[in-house]
Symmetry: C2
Subunit: 205 residues, 2 copies
DNA sequence: TTAGCTATGTATCTTTTGATACCGTTTGTA
DNA sequence: TACAAACGGTATCAAAAGATACATAGCTAA
């Protein structure tokens, strides 16, 4: 429960902390669980304590990654959908075992008017999601695919040594390209001793 | 001043309307005026009444368009910067003569806690900026440049007949490509009788 | 062990886009 | 009017990326 308290530190008002503990419920999800589904109304808002939710949109055969919800973060798409009583336009699926604090979306309204730190939290969330997306747009617009792959691997690896588990196909989906292109570039990286490849994983050198 | 009242209708609480009129100031800008500059602290928040502000980021020689602030809208980047007391990371420049309601950014905090309709306005703003950006990302990732040009023209033209005033170079900047590419594709459109070209303008057929 | 699935390697071809260079035309203004 | 700057047309070349096809390797379950 250490992580729970770490998460709570954003919410400086004792009243808010109490409300969160009172109305919130800690739920454990398995890898691959669906948290939100496109077209569904959002009744509950999650704040992730441990793990990660992958949030993405899907049109026809195309898929576009919006963001990952990680520890201490919430899902801005869910928040907005809930707030405006809209159906969700994205999917949210856990990519690893995940614990989240879940509470009724109906509380958002009240909290906004009562707790400044809640507003700060939400606005910071929106802002950083927006910045992330601008970053993606920029990289997509101006960087070549090899740079984008390397950037992605570094970010995913979090600058720590160790294997990063994803297939060429996964990578292609994340970056919006095709498997063949990924294989081609990764092979080149391998020749240049920038990475080591395994079945279903990559290691940065 | 008709437009001013149209803008105000978002703010349903009489108290908020009164505060806006009291603390706000209507300012007229010329085309090309700089509203916010990268690296500058944001002290005032604009709500556009008439006209449009182009908000974009610039790194080295690259430029990336974020959004236009049009009538009844505000600049979410400014808002976030002001709220967190950060310097702006974007530029905002009017692309036509523009009237805006300007008020001290320091009021944001209070209004959030007092007026639900202000919160609603802000969140809707953030949400739609985010959605716009996702759209751009999607088109950039999956559409070919000819489709993107046509989409852009249609949006800019607002499905009305009439000329759309921009040079090939402008278009190239907006779409993150080069002038030659634009000229090439527009020529093709002209051959296919999809558009008519003029110096500094295009007309959809 | 074998069949079947998933993951990866790679060759070939085509398309799209970008880079560069040079041209003529229009427009604004000194 | 003359000159510079902005605008647009076009040719040539190169690079990047996608499409397709097929081969091989590892993993797993019957």
């Amino acid at each position: 429960m250490n992580e729970l308290f770490r998460t709570l530190h954003f919410f400086t008002e004792p009243g808010l902390q109490q409300e969160i503990l009172e109305h919130g419920k800690v739920v454990s999800f398995n890898k691959g669980d669906v948290i939100v589904r496109d077209g569904q109304y959002v009744k509950f808002l999650p704040i992730v304590i441990k793990g990660a939710i992958r949030v993405f949109q899907q049109n026809e055969d195309r898929e576009i990654l919006l963001y990952y919800v990680r520890a201490e973060e919430t899902c801005t798409m869910s928040l907005a959908a809930a707030y405006f009583d809209n159906k969700s336009t994205s999917h949210g699926i856990t990519i690893e075992p995940t614990d989240a604090l879940i509470f009724p979306a109906s509380l958002i309204n009240e909290w906004q008017l009562k707790y400044p730190s809640w507003n700060k939290y939400i606005l910071r969330m929106f802002r950083s999601r927006y910045d992330e997306l601008v970053g993606s747009l920029q990289r997509l617009a101006f960087d070549h695919i090899d740079v984008r792959i390397m950037e992605y691997l570094k970010r995913k690896g979090g600058n720590r040594p160790g294997k990063i588990y994803l297939s060429h196909q996964n990578l292609a989906d994340e970056l919006g390209t095709t498997r063949v292109v990924i294989s081609r570039i990764l092979k080149q990286f391998e020749k240049d001793k920038k990475i080591k490849q395994f079945r279903g994983a990559v290691e940065l050198l």
